[in-house]
Point group: C2
Chain length 458, copies 2
């Protein structure tokens, strides 16, 4: 793809240098908004607004939407009020709301001043919805039909109003109180006999989400039903908007990135890495590192308590890191699997006992394999080449502790995310770093407990 953009950029540069603006305009009209946005963003800031002005109104708005927020800001600064108004009038409601959300306050005032009264009202309505709710990402431009319309009427209606709608692929059949009765696709309308009514053509029992529902629920509903747009209804069950599938792809990507960040103990950010400043990256990471470091105090306390035991069997010290890492890895395997299952709605809190029973059996198998291999390695390799002090009871202590650690780690790892979900906390935060910190303490206690029992130390 980079290659494609480079060839286009070269052509743009040439046409601009030779001042062949008419050809440039013609070329741009054959391109996709995302391509034009990418090329304009790489242009010198002085030239860029001039070339942007060559675009016809609708393409200008679509291109504008595809730009990064710093480029948008530069463009708005260069716009006259009339130009700004033209772009805003052409934008879909969801894009207008996104723009308002990413611009600084003084810009927002200017933008809202240029929007007409009705648009301003709709923007303000959408801004009221909670972040990441279905209402906050919907757009209000959808095709509404009535049940009595024939296929022919419906296509005529789409011809009249479709140009301002974000999609016409699926149309919505509403009663006079805006309740959603069913959906009918453009394909059905085109393939139908002209005099069939929407009522007879539509799929009833329409699936919709509520404005207050989580955007993730909305995306999963779309994915389940293979929709290209999903109706959003308000508390009175009136249809107020749709979420389109291109936004669903963005939301899905964003939600996965957020989960991944949280699992690695990072506060999520929606900016690309290379565009995020060092201080911002630091701010997203340091609180978690501090919190986890301070929780690490407990391992210190346990080790200090058993200092004498360790002094008697110093060789144990050499195996503490390996045991703790294995525990951490076992726990995070379980926690990450469960967190993902919860995110995808494959798991619910009521599954907790099935999950624990499954993880228990997996952990026994894992623990057995690991301790057996480890026992072999300790006796055959470590005793010969690294630690001649290793006796069978010491090796047995280490391996038994390893077994218990793995079982504990997997049980803690699967339980905590489910409990977090139940407590309406974010399960993703209960991933490897936290599990590791907890499992560390438990595994040390097990190790010293077993050492006391088997090796009679302490």
């Amino acid at each position: 793809m980079r290659e494609r953009t480079e060839i286009l950029e070269e052509t743009f540069r040439k046409l601009t240098e030779e001042k062949k603006y008419a050809s440039l305009r013609d070329l741009m009209q054959t391109l996709y908004p995302a391509d034009i946005a990418a090329i304009l963003s790489d242009m010198p800031e002085k030239l860029m607004p001039a070339i942007f002005r060559l675009l016809p109104k609708d393409l200008a708005a679509e291109t504008f939407v595809e730009m990064e927020s710093d480029v948008k800001e530069a463009l708005i600064r260069s716009f006259s009020d009339t130009e700004l108004k033209a772009v805003i009038d052409e934008m879909y409601m969801d894009d207008a709301v996104d723009l308002i959300e990413e611009m600084p306050a003084n810009m927002v005032r200017r933008i809202l001043a240029q929007a007409d009264a009705d648009t301003r009202k709709q923007i303000n309505e959408i801004l009221k919805y909670k972040d990441d709710s279905a209402g906050s990402v919907m757009t209000t431009e959808f095709v509404a039909l009535t049940p009595r319309m024939t296929a022919e009427d419906a296509i005529e209606e789409i011809r009249k109003t479709g140009v301002d709608k974000e999609t016409i692929n699926t149309c919505y059949v509403l009663d006079e109180k805006y309740h959603l009765l069913g959906t009918v696709t453009i394909r059905t309308l085109i393939l139908a006999r002209p005099n069939e009514t929407c009522e007879s053509l539509m799929t009833g029992n329409a699936v919709s989400v509520n404005t207050q529902d989580d955007q993730e629920t909305a995306v999963q509903t779309m994915s389940k039903y293979n929709f290209t747009s999903l109706p959003v209804v308000d508390a009175e069950n009136r249809m107020v908007g749709i979420i389109t599938v291109d936004d669903a792809l963005d939301i899905m990507e964003e939600e996965a990135s957020e989960d991944i960040a949280k699992m690695a103990a990072i506060t999520p950010s929606d900016k690309p890495y290379l565009r995020t400043g060092v201080l911002d990256i630091w701010k997203n990471r340091i609180p978690w590192l501090l919190l986890l470091m301070v929780s690490g105090t407990f391992t210190g306390i346990v080790i200090s308590r058993f200092e004498n035991a360790l002094a008697m069997v110093t060789v144990l010290t050499a195996y503490i890191p390996m045991m703790m890492d294995t525990g951490g890895n076992s726990g995070s395997q379980a926690s990450v699997t469960i967190i993902r299952g919860l995110s995808l709605n494959e798991l619910e809190f009521s599954d907790i006992f099935r999950v624990m029973w499954k993880e228990f059996r997996v952990s026994v198998l894992c623990g057995a394999a690991l301790s057996l291999v480890n026992f072999g390695k300790l006796m055959l390799i470590d005793r010969r080449f690294i630690n001649p002090d290793l006796t069978v009871p010491i090796a047995a202590t280490i391996c038994l502790a390893m077994f218990c650690t793995v079982v504990i780690a997997k049980l803690v790892g699967c339980t905590l995310p489910m409990l977090a979900k139940k407590a309406k906390l974010d399960p993703a935060v209960m991933a490897s770093p936290f599990i590791t910190t907890i499992v560390d303490v438990l595994s040390l206690l097990v190790l010293f407990g077993l050492a006391t029992a088997i090796l009679h130390v302490g």
Copy 2:
């Protein structure tokens, strides 16, 4: 959503008990395939095929596609050859290929025997493409138009052939050698004047992917251009299929799940957790645990080497786990961020020096904050309540080691995934567990090095 399904299930149960099959059939025709599939899957196995047979042909195929593979298998066993043929004839090519891939060999023979010669040929073509390539997930049913057709002709063509196409929302304008000239949406065709030609209406410079491209690239291209279907071309640049956006959502979810699994040192599986057996889960996890445990040997070797130093300053032992965990967490923050950036194509190997310079500055800030806080904690809390032996030089050694560990961890964490990408390995495997294992060894070496220099031990 569960509630919705429960109400429908109740109605289904009633109608079935009362043998009101006509009403049941009418009800099903108003429902979405995904809903019917969910309800049928929960029915007793004896009843299910009988109710499935009530469905009209097209809805039957769509419902069948939405079922889990064990239910599909049960249904096929109950089908007569004619019934099987009917379902296969109605299925889209990509779904037929998926079915072939998930069924056992004896079923596959039966399915292929029922498919007509042309379908069988197309299925075999698609099966040849590499797993996870664009070719392997495409479907061959798209609307092809010619440049000279008018909008009216095009709509007429869609009326004639559209019923067998997976989508009509975007149509593809091809020359006589099947080269893709441009795309035109149904919306454009409907809103256009009837005598405008496809050539003048289409968006040229069409974006497409190659059959050999990765499915992830395909999804990101769709997301970038907001497409609802993406054309796939072969090596001779002839258009051979499309990928539809509903599959894109599934692919994106699957790819994110795979990355998350690999980051937690798990071999990815495409089955939902509760449907995966204990032994399969064990097989996906144990190789990584073993590998990481054995790599853990190096920490043991380092500690054994410096046993004397530890014996002289036993208090150091208590802080080893905390230091190692902080290093692991710092490293995985960096590695996970970079891995995600690579997955989303926001980062490339050529960015490596920018990334390292950024991570270096972030790590200095994180390291400084962590060691300062830690120093305060050691002096004010630990010395008083936990370890009275803590002197200022010992605390300084621990904190300096912590600082170095954080810097090393972040640099290792950001570099390894990029090197993996360059070496055409999967960057996601270079996540926390591996980084932790490497950073553990390095941080112990730093700690003992500093202890030797500052505390003159060893």
